[in-house]
Symmetry: C2
Amino acid sequence: MPAYQKIQATIMKRIENGQLKPGDAVDSERELAKIHQVSLMTARHALTALEREGMVQRRRGAGTFVAPPKVHFNKLTSFTEQMAGRSLTACSKVLSFGVVDNEQEVAARLALAANTRLLKLERLRLAADEPFAVETCYLPAEEFSGITRSAVARGSLFSMVETGYGIQLAYADEEMDATAAAPATANLLKVARNEPLLRIRQVIYSTKGKATLYVLGLYRSDRHTLLVRRFR
Amino acid sequence: MPAYQKIQATIMKRIENGQLKPGDAVDSERELAKIHQVSLMTARHALTALEREGMVQRRRGAGTFVAPPKVHFNKLTSFTEQMAGRSLTACSKVLSFGVVDNEQEVAARLALAANTRLLKLERLRLAADEPFAVETCYLPAEEFSGITRSAVARGSLFSMVETGYGIQLAYADEEMDATAAAPATANLLKVARNEPLLRIRQVIYSTKGKATLYVLGLYRSDRHTLLVRRFR
DNA sequence: GAGTGGTCTAGACCACTAA
DNA sequence: TAGTGGTCTAGACCACTCT
């Protein structure tokens, strides 16, 4: 392990176990160089890299300080993870589960041939016993042949893909618009027909850049608002 | 100007004027050091910084290469900027302009006292002569007392705030949901009553972290879909 | 004025890639 | 094997901040 990474690790440890709190000064370049018996440039490398990762802030003439804890915006999380974060009692009901081979638009979004066999999974999402979304997921049937209805009913699809198939999900591109509730959807969500719903179409990519999952979600607008941060 | 920034600038120029295209190899560290009469570390600094900005990619043993053009996700842009980017003929119509002092919810979102005087600006946004959004902006009347109806009718509110008042806008937090078109809104947007619209509430912050602008937007769902990228 | 980060030198050895 | 980026040395001067 390179020297500069060792230096980073010792600083990270002290931040994680609470010895250093946000705003506290970190050892200066010169101190770190002395302590770790390295040159100034090496100590410096460690600190600039930590700054790039957002762990510390450097101020010329003042020193290097522990940065306030990162807030993750625009983070891709599964339904299960979201609900856990808000400590809401949440559950899902599987509405349908099967293989389809004529979803041409979905196949196209996943960059697959038009009649590729796809696993299709429809679920009703509930929070505190109130329905608030209908989500339809599609994924290549070949690749994920081990996924069964009962497994899906038990656990998180995200974690099945990530831990069961060794695929790391990296990011999702989402398209959002509004649509009127169709009769069947209105029944499921317990809203009036033609009630405005938030519609999200999501293509989820793996770390290798491959489109892995397509999700179409319809959300009750009164139960769910979407938060996004945009940067200039 | 530091030497490493000069080196960056010469590389950037060659990328911008097309001498270097994505995938092309950039001069190596050693070549740059010779050309610019600097040490290896300085040439290196220039390249690593360019890589951090996403302009180039470095591959050990192979070289440094021009990165594919950046795609900006989750970027905060004004209506004017967006339309320019898509090369659409766009225009706005000012629906109303004035000062209000009883918009308590808006004041709260801008972290101001409940009855603070606010500039309120309603505009209809059109693209290719088709109306597609109604936007209502609020900003503190005291701070932006120089903004007039005629100025707003001519130019971009964003650029007025940024260049006219020396305030750099940094990021926006957005809340999105769906709502039904009220009669007046439906008329303006030329859609049926109760048609589902995408509603976006936006608080725009300056680089100093101050809430500067509040924008409520209602978008025709058939003319506008919102794109967001989320990361894991 | 003492200490900090920002820039820079003139080299070095290593691990890796591509021809 | 020649060339690349990755890591590292042992210093230097400068601009800046804090007291």
